[in-house]
Symmetry: C2
Subunit: 333 residues, 2 copies
């Protein structure tokens, strides 16, 4: 990696989360797909919201959460995603800039409203995502600043954005620009149902331009059509430079063509809301990777960031991840 | 009290809180009045927001918080306040209805946006309020449903709303309707600077239509121009049926013409954010009062609700206050 201006540029759906805690019965009563991300339209969003308990609003969006995390570690980061010039768009823009992420997109002055995700958190700390994409689904290839993409060591793309054809084209364009500049392409599989929807294309992506792949066990299983971890690890090994497979409380595996590194999970006293666990894992890993740390050290930063975010409601860290890592001896003061 | 339809009807500024945690230096650096509520205009709101850390949004508004608390105890409650048909107005309406408060106001289709309060929480858990009133400042006397006011055992008014002439008239109209119906008028002093701004009018209110008065020590001191608690208690005693004086960690005093009842504070392991402490105190007291509990029992419910709300960010309870009170033996299952 050369002397790029940014450590990471992220691209994804710009979303504000609307989070409520609900009893387990809420899932079945409202026909939700527990643990998954389901796209919903305006009417469904209004009906579901009306059923939800009092909520809190926090900025979200998978890649945006990751970029906020890299910035919280002290990395230099930019983000590409689309919001409207409405109140939730203002909230999204404020929160991502306030943590130090460059976000230079102009808010759209017409079209659908800023996207939001109705996040239902059950007593087991599982999160069920119901996403109204709004204007985030209109991220056009022309919205991708190729100079910006070329100026970062790593491009980070969320799989969620593959669900819409125009945004998929935007990612493809960014991936090409990243490769042409000799930079690294990283990608998160996002959701096992999302993997199933885009299965053959994503197999090609992993074999092709993706250098660093992130996914949890269910997502890797869906990609390689197995239910066995060893089989999945063997299937992904060598397909890309690095594959990070997260395993919840069991920690994670960092798989390279040469080795499989086991990373323990950071202990958490009280898991409140697992929203953002994978996003923040990626943030720690990418911060370490772009700062020349060895892969085990990258994994430990990843575990630390994931542990912080699942200890409270919301998918953004509530403390400085840099300070937290310093306090744990994982980064120099 | 007869067989009214509602236990309490509240009237106040309908506000969404935008909460960030900041270092102590943020107060001086931005010329904030620590611990107070300061009204700010659009330009000041934008400048301050741009300086704030990533925030969370939750519904707020003093009287609205109190009504949400009474509903969480299981009381029958309605709320009068004004929002726009914008995203924050939708959030406000959802959250107050979701906890069981009737909120039948039509969202305004033009005018300024829904009000918001930039809440700065410092490491000592103190909150500094910077309020952009937006459309809440346009609550017109005609917005007050006199039949609704007459249908509640108690009317609850926040002092904050006195800052705007038109909303003051709305409160005056509600207070008159409440008195004419033979119901009780309760009122919170809200903020010591607010007391200073409306000093002589509020002395008359306490001597006149107010039956139940809520305020903290600073507010009662401002009202009776003293710095001595005994002097303040003696000054307010007999001026109204009940005066509740909150004293932070020292608990509270319930002052009637006949006696002064000392209520201990409910212990809190970790005070995170004192926003809403007074609002939720009033909710517990009013729930008990409208359900025929003795004054000491009302005070214990008040302390319990205040303790819950200061243990987390945001000014609405995060658990069922009814269930919490049952678990503490303060209410029957």
């Amino acid at each position: 990696m050369g002397e790029q201006h940014y450590d990471v540029v992220g691209i994804g759906n710009a979303i504000v989360d609307v989070i409520s805690q609900e009893p387990e019965s809420f899932i079945a009563d409202n026909d939700l797909v527990k643990g998954a991300m389901t796209l919903i339209d305006t009417e469904r969003a209004e009906r579901l919201y009306a059923k939800m308990a009092p909520a809190i609003e926090t900025s979200g969006g998978s890649a945006a959460n990751t970029m906020a995390g890299v910035a919280s570690f002290g990395g230099k980061v930019s983000y590409i995603g689309k919001v409207r010039d409405d109140q939730l768009g203002t909230v999204f823009g404020h929160d991502i800039r306030a943590v130090g992420v460059d976000f230079d997109m102009t808010s759209a002055t017409d079209g659908p409203p800023t996207g939001r995700c109705l996040v239902v958190v059950t007593p087991d700390a599982a999160r069920t995502l119901n996403t109204f994409l709004g204007i985030s689904s209109l991220l056009h290839p022309n919205d991708v600043d190729l100079g910006l993409v070329a100026s970062a060591k790593v491009l980070y793309c969320e799989g969620y954005i593959w669900d819409i054809d125009i945004t998929k084209q935007a990612i493809r364009k960014a991936v090409e620009a990243c490769g042409a500049a000799g930079n690294k392409v990283s990608f998160t599989l996002s959701d096992s149902f999302c993997v199933e929807r885009h299965h053959s294309e994503w197999l090609e992506l992993v074999d092709g331009p993706i250098d660093i792949l992130f996914g949890n066990d269910d997502e890797i299983f869906a990609l390689y059509e197995t239910k066995d971890l060893d089989t999945a690890v063997a299937a992904v090994q060598g397909r890309c430079e690095i594959a990070c497979i997260t395993l919840g409380a069991e920690g994670s595996l960092v798989v390279t063509p040469q080795e499989v590194i086991e990373i323990p999970a950071e202990p958490v006293d009280n898991v409140v809301d697992t929203t953002g666990a994978g996003d923040l894992y990626a943030s720690g890993f990418l911060y370490g990777y772009t700062h020349g740390l060895d892969l085990a050290a990258c994994g430990h930063l990843a575990s630390l960031a994931a542990a912080e975010v699942i200890s409270h409601l919301g998918a953004r860290s509530q403390v400085s991840l840099h300070d937290l890592a310093v306090s744990k001896g994982l980064l120099a003061p």
